[in-house]
Symmetry: C2
DNA sequence: CGTGAAAAGATACACAA
DNA sequence: TTGTGTATCTTTTCACG
């Protein structure tokens, strides 16, 4: 499905999402048109889901990152869906996975300050199916949004 | 520092990092040149750290995401730095924070399969200053890399 | 996959408001 | 600071070898 060159293109675009077809072409040792063809294919097949600017959290006043473990009181389909829909709609939540172990979910929340976090937790607690919440504050980021290992 | 329009630009670029100056301009109700100036400023001041393509993990054979809690045996400056440098160099690690609570670190690791994860854990365990490791597998992603709330 | 050419689009800059 | 206009450069697209 994907050959060396495709992977190279993906790697390059993961580093710099604004590289043009021409720039990519010379970096992978191709000419522009086959490179453009590959690009379109990679996008069309969904290997590339999109492009985005990476913003500086702290500079934007988003100094607090919190990892939050959540356990639900029940696991009825309807409640699970309601929970996921509710948290997905929260802008402060940038990541949410169901996980193995003691808790059901691991959330990552980004807020400007502690009062904002308290407010957010209140909203989370107000969800009826939420049984237990355990917060871990990020003290320092060692590595953030690293590139996928491809 | 940042006015409404700047924030709008950042929001738009967070959704689509390939929008051109002209497209951005009409979306925020500006003409091209002031929009380009703002863009350059936002990039120059570091509000925009870069641009990248968002890739589909599963399609690329990276089906396993694991959240790993790590506790060190000591917290001497040198050991801490050695640990952080070692894990930062691991491609499978896409995120690493020091966190409050029982553990010192929370890592996010992406690998193709369980054998690859076992291998990775072995490498982690081989670091002398690592005292305790606790893995939580991501069973399902509810929300991944959501936009920052700006 | 490569080449070449044509068309479209983007950027940069000077100047006016 | 923004808007307009222009000139330049780049990119994209496509037909064909």
């Amino acid at each position: 499905m994907l050959d060396r060159i495709d992977l190279q293109l993906l790697r390059l675009l993961q580093q710099d999402g604004r590289l043009s077809t021409v720039e990519l072409a010379q970096q992978v040792g191709l000419s522009a048109s086959p490179c453009a063809r590959r690009l379109k294919r990679l996008e069309g097949e969904g290997h590339i889901q999109g492009y985005r600017a990476i913003l500086a959290r702290e500079k934007l006043g988003l100094g607090i990152t919190v990892f939050v473990n959540v356990r639900l009181s029940q696991h009825k389909e309807a409640l699970v869906e309601a929970f996921e829909q509710a948290v997905s709609a929260m802008g402060e939540l940038i990541s949410c996975h169901t996980v193995s172990g003691t808790y059901d979910y691991l959330l990552e929340v980004v807020v400007p300050d502690l009062p904002a976090y308290e407010q957010w937790v209140r909203r989370l607690q107000s969800l009826a199916m939420v049984n237990d919440i355990n917060s871990h504050f990020a003290i320092r980021a060692v590595k953030v949004m690293g590139p996928l290992p491809i």
